[in-house]
């Protein structure tokens, strides 16, 4: 039924996943001494940047974003501005949630904020791309039985995977193994990344195998 959409989704995800891969490999050529643990923040920024750029480009080209009613430049600009604002607000939101979870408030604020940026670019950015800057739509998608298209379901899966990945990533921190990846926020961002990649692979697969059961209410 949605074979076409599933194929599009799979290819999109493949492009995003490869961009993550490139963002991990390429800086090693340009930045001396680059490593995922050693220069973790650099890796974080490069991955977030790559995912942001590629997602925006791909979703814009595909035209998933809901069609705007008005086509004036002013409206588009305001949408862009709102998107940027939401992006920033979401960074702050993630930051405060992470601090509530026990991250030090002042000491490693930069690391915490970088993690928040990564989480935002993996989750909120996709929402912005797929649903546009509309809080109502977000709340609809993230409540029970709220998905109205294949892309909504896919969004649910990837966001849940990313957040759960980051959540699980916090568990090794108290262990007394003294490994480089136990340093804050390495394990969390790695967890988020692994969760995100799992979501990218898992979402099309899950939808493919459950396409019989999936029924969407039309608007």
């Amino acid at each position: 039924m949605w074979d076409h959409e599933i194929r599009a989704m799979a290819s999109t995800h493949a492009i995003i996943a490869s961009s993550v891969f490139m963002a991990t490999v390429l800086p090693a050529v340009f930045v001396p001494g680059f490593s995922v643990y050693g220069t973790h923040l650099v890796w974080l920024y490069s991955v977030s940047g790559a995912v942001t750029a590629v997602s925006v480009a791909v979703f814009w080209l595909l035209g998933i974003t809901p069609p705007t009613k008005k086509h004036t430049l002013g409206y588009k600009l305001s949408r862009l501005f709102r998107s940027c604002l939401y992006f920033f607000l979401s960074c702050l939101f993630f930051h405060s949630v992470v601090v509530l979870y026990g991250a030090p408030l002042i000491e490693s604020a930069l690391e915490t904020f970088s993690l928040a940026v990564l989480l935002t670019s993996l989750t909120t950015l996709r929402c912005l791309c797929v649903l546009g800057p509309s809080v109502q739509a977000w709340i609809r998608v993230f409540s029970r039985h709220g998905a109205m298209s294949v892309w909504d379901t896919c969004l649910q899966i990837t966001v849940a995977c990313t957040v759960v990945g980051a959540w699980l990533g916090a568990f090794p921190i108290p262990l007394d193994w003294d490994r480089p990846w136990q340093v804050w926020p390495v394990s969390c961002s790695l967890g988020a990344m692994i969760g995100f990649l799992t979501g990218l692979v898992g979402a099309p697969a899950w939808i493919h195998y459950h396409r019989k059961q999936l029924t969407y209410k039309s608007k």
Binding site: I139, R140, R144, W167, P174, L175, D176
Partner: protein, 964 residues
């Protein structure tokens, strides 16, 4: 037999307590003890090999020292003396170590590195078991054979100044003493001045033989500000001066011809990087041991100190003073000290030590012949005899010296082997009792699990097939089988077993219980089985769909249980609970958002329904109410999150991050006394406002007066200030103020109980009953606010605040069922246990609570108060659960039964899993320092939960009676 689920759950919990007690009895090994009832006596010493008749052969090596001064500095770490900073910290001592006639060692203290077990170890030479730490609460006189008793019996005059633990351990042993109490940990100058002020006069006198000084100040500094604080350096210099003073006084007294003196500097335990102690980390275990005497050879320079056991000091001192070695000592004499004496005396000393160790070995190990050291000792004894023969014949050749050296070496090897075999014996477990306890616990847990569908159904009645099980053939067969297994095990096992030593009646009861449980289990399982095959399809269609919250609660409970297998997760268990609690709050937040934003269309109908039914005065008013309610409900989870985050930084516990500065320390420092005063006053007012709502006016007044009493108690103790009181008064114990509060606590509890009884017996009035419950609850809150340290009052305050808000806006409004509410309460209770500064380490128990309102140590109230204040968090949340579940009118009457059942299940699962883990990990490196304290905490928690569940039963009675 049909019983209500609350009764069922409580009885299961009580039986589990019995099971875990049995397990604990098997798990904590009984210390190695000599079978001889009396203490070692000089007349009973072994004969010197091959020397003929008694007057000759019972010759003992002459004492080496005339006087001994022992300077015990509490928490003296090895690197304070031998480390790189030792030269600046303790210059004189360091000079003696490097150039003086001294011997220096690193003495390894065995965990638990707590003062009292260490003093026992130093004086008896035995290694006190872990269970001695628990007995630390209450230290009766030491009845075991020990060095102090031996010295006193030999007519030595002993003087003691320092920690009064010694005075309690050795009453009437000292010719003169002055005990300083370590009650006020914040004092680190007065405790030491109390010791030093006696020094000058004592050192001038000649009428003593042994002087013991125990300095506490360093330990207190460690507890306050850690091993790197600026207070350490002056304190160590002070100790250095004390040592210098004693040393020069001893030198000036030294007379020609008489025996030399011995000056011992040692520590009872070290200090961890956070300044605490109790565990088994290197800095806690390694203590310096410096022996100074003119009898020793002068040192040429700093050598790396040899590592010895702390208990080795006991036989060494005993031989040095010419006393018999204590029976239970597992130490071996430090051979380096004897090297200046004659070969005959050296061999004789080692022989005495070896004989004592071999006797202890015979008494404590069944197959002692197989121990390597025992045989070595026999061989060495024989060789010693040969040497004696040559010696008595007057042989003085090279052969004799070489042979002597060989015998010496043999003796030392034998001593080392026997000593280590005895130490290892302490790690031996009574497996049979452990297994029986474990089987009990698991049978009970399985019954609990199998009864789940019935216990959580609408009727909340569990049908236990007790009678059918009792009258079935398998029951009797099993009884026979188990009894024969018991006889078989008890006759074959050579080591002593606690379960075997029980009386026959008890054993038979246990056997019958075990087989009955087994039959019940089988019949319940068969009853469930056909149902289990049919039901999934049916149930999945109906109400058994799990929401995200249910999944979280389930995963969290299971995940936490599994995490107990890793020592780091046990040490940092608070992190797990904080993490889960945060996630829970976020999940609740999501539920709230969903209710108020997404399901608007659905809720409008509902609102109208309520509106028509309740006949509200004005619709506009109602809309506004609903609006504020919505925002309050939305604000509650973030507010709880914020509270939790703030509380988290109040007390840092655990191991890895415990040393980071926290708000609690900041508040407790003397500069911030005014802030602490304001904060506690504010918290007490807030507590009053939150608690008084549902009490009768009498209780309100009593509560207010009681809370004022709490503040004045804290002011009397010296924690907080009254606004008009500027200079710091001398701190008193505040007994009067605390008793004043106790009176009100009892009054409120009494009035609550009266209301409850009246509602139960006479009127069956639900309102009266709920008021009674709330009064009991507020009495408990008042008691806890008295016991909590003043910097911990925000914990109490926040827990009350969260309880009020959650009950008002979340649990009621979102229609969470009893099971979900119970799990949330349990999680909150666990997290608050750690917020108040507890950890899974024995060292964080605040023992000073046991003295609140008491003039002296009285065992029963002290233990009760300490347990209450330690488990205040879980207890308060469980009590709130009872109040909440029974005050809900529209709730089904079985809610209490469901809550009780869930609480029992939540407690039994980790307890049962944990004892299996502990059994599997019983040879783990951290078994004593990490897993055993946690085991004690778990058992105590189980006991307290059983008590709470019994309270549940009494509360549940009324709905059935009121309905009928």
């Amino acid at each position: 037999m049909k019983i209500r689920s609350s009764v069922f759950a409580s009885f299961v919990l009580l039986l589990e307590v019995v099971g875990i007690v049995l397990f604990l009895r098997g798990f904590f090994p009984v210390p190695v003890k000599s079978s001889l009832a009396s203490k070692s006596q000089l007349s009973e010493q072994p004969l010197e090999p091959l020397t003929g008749s008694p007057p000759n052969s019972s010759r003992l090596p002459p004492p080496l020292f005339k006087r001994v001064v022992i300077v015990l500095v509490d928490a003296l770490r090895e690197d304070f003396v031998f480390g790189a900073n030792g030269r600046t910290h303790m210059p004189y001592t360091r000079h003696l170590v490097e150039k003086g006639s001294s011997h220096s060692f690193v003495a390894k203290a065995r965990p638990p590195t707590v003062t009292m077990p260490r003093i026992k170890a130093l004086t008896t030479g035995s290694i006190p078991g872990f269970i001695d730490v628990v007995m630390n609460l209450n230290s009766p006189a030491l009845l075991e054979d020990n060095l102090i008793w031996q010295a006193k019996t030999a007519g030595k005059r002993i003087i003691f100044y320092g920690d009064d633990t010694w005075v309690r351990l050795f009453p009437k042993h000292f010719m003169e003493y002055d005990g300083t109490t370590s009650f006020f940990v914040s004092d680190y100058t007065e405790v030491d001045n109390n010791v030093t002020r006696h020094l000058d006069s004592t050192l001038k006198r000649d009428d003593w033989d042994i002087l013991i000084l125990h300095y506490l100040g360093l330990d207190h500094i460690g507890h306050i500000s850690g091993p790197h604080s600026s207070l350490i350096q002056p304190k160590l210099l002070e100790m250095d001066d004390v040592l210098k003073k004693i040393h020069s006084a001893l030198i000036s007294k030294e007379a020609e011809g008489s025996l030399p003196y011995l000056l011992v500097l040692c520590g009872d335990h070290g200090m961890s990087e956070t300044g605490s102690h109790g565990g088994s980390s290197e800095p806690e275990v390694n203590t310096p041991l410096v022996l100074i005497s003119p009898a020793f050879r002068r040192k040429a320079g700093m050598e790396k100190p040899v590592v010895v056991e702390q208990v080795d000091l006991t036989p060494t001192l005993a031989l040095g003073l010419g006393l018999p070695i204590s029976q239970n000592s597992v130490g071996r004499v430090i051979a380096g000290l004897l090297e200046e004496t004659s070969m005959r005396d050296q061999l004789r000393s080692l022989h005495l030590n070896g004989h004592q160790l071999s006797c202890l070995l015979k008494d404590s190990i069944s197959n002692y012949e197989k121990v390597l050291g025992f045989e070595q000792f026999r061989v060495a004894e024989k060789a010693h005899g040969n040497w004696m023969k040559l010696y008595l014949e007057g042989n003085t050749s090279e052969v004799l010296t070489n042979m002597g050296k060989k015998v010496l070496k043999q003796y030392l090897e034998a001593l080392a082997a026997m000593s280590s075999a005895l130490s290892k014996q302490l790690g031996k477990y009574d497996m049979y009792s452990m297994i029986v306890g474990m089987v009990f616990l698991f049978q009970l847990l399985l019954v609990l699990l199998l009864a789940m569908p019935e216990a959580l159904c609408g009727a909340a009645v569990v049908d236990l097939p007790v009678l059918s099980a009792m009258f079935s053939l398998p029951f009797y067969l099993l009884c026979l089988l188990l009894a024969s297994v018991h006889v078989l095990v008890c006759t074959s096992a050579e080591s002593s077993c606690y379960f075997c030593s029980l009386s026959w009646g008890l054993v038979f009861a246990a056997v019958a219980f075990c087989s009955a449980m087994f039959c019940i289990l089988i019949s319940m399982a068969t009853r469930r089985l056909p149902l289990g095959i049919k039901s999934p399809l049916k149930s999945s269609g109906s109400g058994w769909q799990l929401s995200e919250l249910d999944i979280l609660l389930l995963v969290g409970t299971i995940g936490h249980t599994l995490s107990l297998g890793a020592s780091s997760f046990v040490e940092e268990e608070h992190q797990t609970w904080y993490f889960l609690l945060n996630t829970l709050c976020l999940a609740v937040f999501q539920d709230v958002c969903r209710k108020y934003f997404r399901e608007k269309s659905a809720s409008i109908d509902e609102e109208e329904l309520i509106f028509t039914s309740k006949d509200h005065p004005s619709p506009v008013h109602y809309k506004a109410d609903a609006h504020t309610e919505k925002w309050l409900a939305l604000a509650t989870p973030p507010f709880s999150l914020l509270c939790c985050r703030l509380l988290r930084s109040l007390n840092h516990t655990g191991v890895q991050w415990a040393h980071l500065p926290d708000v609690g320390h900041w508040l407790n420092s003397s500069e911030h006394k005014t802030v602490l005063s304001f904060l506690s006053a504010f918290c007490l007012v807030l507590i009053y406002l939150l608690v008084q709502r549902r009490c009768s006016w009498v209780s309100k007044v009593a509560l207010a007066l009681g809370l004022i009493g709490v503040y004045s108690y804290r002011a009397a103790v010296g924690n907080v200030l009254f606004p008009w009181q500027h200079s710091s008064r001398t701190a008193s114990k505040g007994t009067v103020e605390a008793r004043f509060v106790y009176v009100f606590v009892l009054g409120i509890l009494f009035s609550g109980t009266k209301d409850l009884l009246r509602s139960q017996v006479i009127t069956a009035d639900a309102k009266l009953k709920s008021r009674g419950l709330w009064e009991i609850y507020s009495g408990l809150v008042l008691l806890v606010s008295l016991l909590f340290r003043s910097h911990n009052l925000p914990v109490l305050c926040c827990s009350l605040l969260i309880q009020t808000l959650m009950a008002q806006f979340i649990w009621k409004k979102l229609h969470y069922d009893a099971a979900q509410t119970t799990i949330m309460h349990y999680w909150f209770g666990q997290a608050f246990f750690y917020y108040q500064g507890n950890s899974n380490n024995i060292a964080t128990i605040d023992i000073s609570v046991g003295f609140v309102g008491l003039e002296s140590y009285v065992e029963a109230p002290a233990i009760f108060l300490t347990a209450l204040s330690t488990y205040a968090g879980p207890l308060l949340w469980a009590c709130h659960l009872i109040c909440y579940l029974s005050s809900e009118r529209d709730r089904s009457p079985v809610a209490l039964g469901h809550g009780c059942y869930c609480l029992a299940l939540l407690r039994s699962v980790p307890a049962a899993a944990y004892i299996v883990l502990v059994t599997v990990l019983r040879y783990h490196l951290f078994i004593w320092s990490v897993f055993s304290p946690k085991l004690l905490y778990e058992s105590m928690h189980l006991l307290i939960t059983a008590g709470v569940c019994l309270f549940f039963i009494t509360m549940e009675q009324s709905p059935t009676s009121s309905k009928s």
